[in-house]
């Protein structure tokens, strides 16, 4: 199971609607609205699906972008210390250039 913590940056007028929609999604847990435009979210899904699951959030109306702050797939490690995953860190980092907030 991958666990990803991120901020969802929305338009001010849509933040409530977005938060409701995200809360309704099974893989998501929200931790409130902050500064009127950020929703704190933690997503849980298997690592192969975590990207797709988060993409769904990006597609929501009113969502400007997401800022990833935490990602772990430690749970998927087997007893030999191996992880099988399609998640590419390199690809993930490439898609997400650094940003000045």
């Amino acid at each position: 199971m991958a666990i990803m913590g991120f901020l969802v940056h929305t338009l001010r007028e849509d933040v409530d609607a977005v938060e409701k929609k995200i809360t309704a999604m099974p893989e998501m847990t929200t931790y409130g609205i902050h500064q009127g435009q950020y929703v704190v979210v933690v997503a849980e899904a298997i690592s192969d699906r975590i990207e797709a699951v988060v993409e769904q959030v990006k597609e929501l109306d009113g969502v400007l972008t997401i800022y990833t702050t935490y990602l772990t797939i430690e749970d998927e490690m087997d007893e030999n210390g191996n992880i099988e995953t399609n998640l590419s860190l390199r690809k993930l980092l490439k898609k997400n250039p650094g940003i000045n907030l």
Binding site: M1, I3, M4, G5, F6, L7, T29, Y31, H34, Q35, Y38, V40, V41, V42, E44, Y67, T69, Y70, L71, T72, E74, D75, N100, L101
Partner: protein, 752 residues
């Protein structure tokens, strides 16, 4: 409470996100975010608005800019001004001299380059006389650079072939002011915007070419909804967004519209006989003094109905805008190239001024006929220093013996030093260069291989082997670099110190922010070196540095109405620009000229409120200028009108703005703006390639289909050196101002 491991990890994820929003976001940024070590006061490198800027310097490099809060722009900048820093460090910067050998520019030392330049100039003068050499300067050069070059050539080399690119942009405005008032330069200032109740904007896309002034006009309209804005332009530009009346007309027929407005103003009894009877002479086009009755008769050819036939503007609209203009308590007119770059540019300028003289909208807060200057220093640098072929510093003329004598005395020259015959104006000059009659030309801070009209003619001439061109140009990719014989590396904008004088007669000092790159030198240094090597009498060119040049110019101005002796360097360093005249060090500068109590040239006890001292009888002149068509009207073969202009993102030939990634990507290529109906007629869709043909050349541009241009008109911006629209434009010029008609020529279009 027992947390599963998973829950712990989830908490870690949530808290890391919360940390991001919970804390003070600005403190999340790196503590040292490139805050400058110092802020240096200067002026923007771009348009004639002349915004003050503060240049942020860190570790000896320009890192950012912000607006100067104490200059007229009150801290604001437009998009070009805000993005200047990367230009300074462009990789195309010329950082050392070059000499052309076997067709290629080869690096050289300063001595090698200057020795070659001087040998060519000396040879030309020896074999063909002083009229075989020339200087072609710029409204973007510093005042001290232009003043110095003017003196070196006219007093040192005794050559009056001193010209500059303001001939291509402001000459008609100069001619207009001269013929109307006997003196150049506007009589009001930017502050008038805050008091005006009607703005008449004609031949100007102010929102893209003078953005900060446009902002001030828009703010004025927001503050008082009764303020009226009239925009007269065959294109419905962004400027028209705030207009109460947008007047679209057949290109070139604005002369008829302006006369028709005068007709309506008189018919509606909105003219001001008290003002014009006392302060205005009515002049026929044949320079004969006439009277008001003659003027009324002249205007009978310009009833609104007759003007409608000529211009396509509904008579009703002409009546409306005439009334708006006259009924307001203070009307301010703005114009730029739409009126100036015409073979009837001087006439068009006169006709706008006429409306102000007829209604008395002059000399009061908010009332002014304000010609907007395109370049940052065409006023202060070229017009005021008289760096044109027929002028001498401070409004004096070469052809007048008393002016020559007066200047010779000021400069300590032997009587008769200044040649009595004016030199060649820009088009004539480049014609002569192209014919091999001018043997050596010094080009400073301008890009004639891109900016001259009908430019193929002139680039062919530049390729001749029997003429020599030395070019001072900061950017290797400027078009003119392809043709020069010697390329000199000048210090750029913030790497040197000197004055810019903007549209409102404000002279502001640019302080040097950083050291020049590589082997670059300021143009003042280069010119002083040139003069020394040419053997110019050191008594004529005694200056050690740029401040010496300024001090002499200050002194020279003091016996003329320009008198800005009070603008010492110390004052300039402390203040953010001062408006001339400014005769003494404690004088605050002059907002309104020709007005008793405001203009220091007028005694405080003068009998009249206004004194147009440019003319001996103290009166301004209202000229009866008729409508006359453009040089090349559309006809059966070339049925449309081609006009050129700028966009806000790019400055002139793009040598600077194309270095800023955002600006380059905003408008990477030229295009042709086609009206929706015309596009339909020709089967052209947005993005299609369109072939434009004039009698001079043809070129393919991608189409931008919109409702901006009126039907029958196409517009092409001129910043693209790979799609140079000046290959298609016409070099016919105004007989009075010698300014070319970039704005109108005949074209045909076809889907390519």
């Amino acid at each position: 409470m027992k947390l599963t491991r998973r829950e712990v990890l989830k908490c870690a994820a949530a808290s890391s996100a919360l940390m991001a929003v919970g804390g003070n976001l600005s403190s999340v940024m790196a503590a040292d975010d490139g805050e400058p070590d110092k802020w240096v006061k200067a002026v923007c490198r771009f348009c004639g608005t002349g915004c003050g800027v503060m240049i942020g310097v860190k570790n000896g490099k320009v890192v950012t800019v912000k607006g100067d809060p104490n200059n007229h722009n009150q801290g604001f900048l437009c998009l070009k001004g805000a993005l200047m820093p990367p230009i300074v460090y462009a990789k195309e910067r010329v950082t050392r001299p070059y000499i052309r050998k076997d067709g290629q520019l080869v690096p050289a030392t300063w001595d090698e380059a200057m020795d070659l330049v001087v040998s060519k100039f000396k040879k030309a003068i020896k074999e063909h006389g002083p009229t075989s050499v020339a200087y072609y300067g710029s409204g973007q050069a510093l005042t001290e650079e232009s003043y110095l070059a003017n003196k070196i050539w006219k007093a040192g080399l005794r050559c009056n072939n001193v010209e500059g690119n303001p001939r291509l942009c402001m000459a008609s405005a100069v001619g207009g002011y001269y013929t109307s008032f006997g003196k150049d330069e506007p009589c009001g200032c930017y502050e008038d915007i805050d008091a005006a109740t009607c703005f008449f904007i004609i031949g100007s896309n102010m929102s893209e070419c003078h953005p900060i002034l446009f902002k001030r006009v828009a703010a004025r309209k927001q503050a008082d909804p009764n303020v009226k804005v009239i925009v007269v332009d065959p294109r419905k530009t962004n400027t028209a967004r705030i207009a109460d009346e947008h007047v679209s007309f057949k290109p070139g027929t604005d002369l008829a519209i302006l006369n028709a407005m005068a007709y309506v103003i008189i018919q509606e009894e909105l003219d001001n006989p008290r003002f014009y009877n006392k302060y205005v002479n009515f002049m026929t086009n044949g320079k004969k003094k006439a009277d008001f009755k003659t003027y009324m008769k002249f205007l009978e050819d310009y009833t609104p109905e007759k003007a409608e036939k000529i211009s396509g503007v509904p008579a009703d609209q002409i009546r409306r805008i005439a009334k708006m203009f006259a009924e307001s308590s203070a009307t301010m007119s703005f114009w730029t190239m739409g009126l100036n770059q015409r073979i009837r540019g001087v006439w068009a300028n006169n006709l706008v001024t006429n409306l102000h003289l007829l209604t008395g909208h002059i000399g009061k807060p908010g009332a002014c006929n304000f010609s907007l200057t395109g370049q940052p220093n065409a006023c202060g640098g070229v017009r005021d220093t008289g760096s044109l072929c027929h002028l001498l510093p401070a409004g004096r003329m070469i052809k007048k013996p008393e002016h020559r004598a007066q200047l010779e005395k000021q400069w300590g020259l032997k009587p008769g030093t200044i040649a009595p015959k004016p030199g060649l104006h820009t088009i004539a000059l480049w014609n002569a260069f192209s014919e091999g009659k001018i043997k050596a030309m010094y080009v400073l801070c301008t890009n004639p291989a891109h900016s001259l009209p009908n430019v193929n003619m002139y680039t062919e001439g530049m390729e001749r082997k029997d003429n020599f061109m030395v070019l001072s140009e900061p950017f290797m990719d400027a078009e003119t670099v392809k043709y020069c014989d010697v390329l000199l590396p000048p210090a750029f904008w913030c790497e040197k110190r000197g004055v810019y004088g903007c549209s409102e007669r404000r002279y502001s000092l640019l302080m040097q922010a950083v050291e020049p790159m590589g082997e670059c030198r300021s143009d003042v240094e280069i010119l002083l070196d040139f003069a020394k090597r040419m053997g110019v009498d050191p008594k004529v060119i005694p200056f050690k540095n740029v401040d010496d040049v300024w001090d002499e110019w200050r002194e020279v101005s003091s016996i003329t109405p320009y008198n800005f002796k009070g603008m010492t360097r110390e004052r300039q360093e402390k203040e953010s620009g001062i408006l001339w005249p400014c005769p003494t060090e404690d004088h605050p500068g002059t907002k309104r000229r020709y007005v008793r109590g405001e203009d220091p040239n007028i005694p405080k006890d003068y009998k009249n409120k206004y004194w147009f001292y440019g003319y001996p009888d103290g009166k301004a002149k209202l000229w009866m200028r008729p409508y006359a068509p453009a040089a090349e009207e559309p006809d059966a073969k070339y049925p449309m009108v081609l006009t050129t202009g700028r966009v806000i993102d790019h400055w002139h030939t793009g040598t600077m703005t194309m270095k800023v990634p955002e600006l380059r990507r905003s408008f990477p290529r030229a295009y042709v703006e086609v009206n929706i109906e015309d596009a339909k007629k020709h089967g052209i869709k947005n993005g299609d390639n369109v072939l434009l043909e004039t009698r001079r050349d043809k070129m393919v541009f991608p189409a931008k289909v919109s409702d901006v241009c009126r039907p029958g008109l196409v517009f092409v911006p001129w910043y693209d050196k790979d799609l140079m629209i000046n290959k298609l434009t016409l070099n016919a010029f105004d007989k009075g101002s010698k300014q070319p008609e970039y704005k109108i020529c005949a074209v045909r279009i076809k889907k390519a």
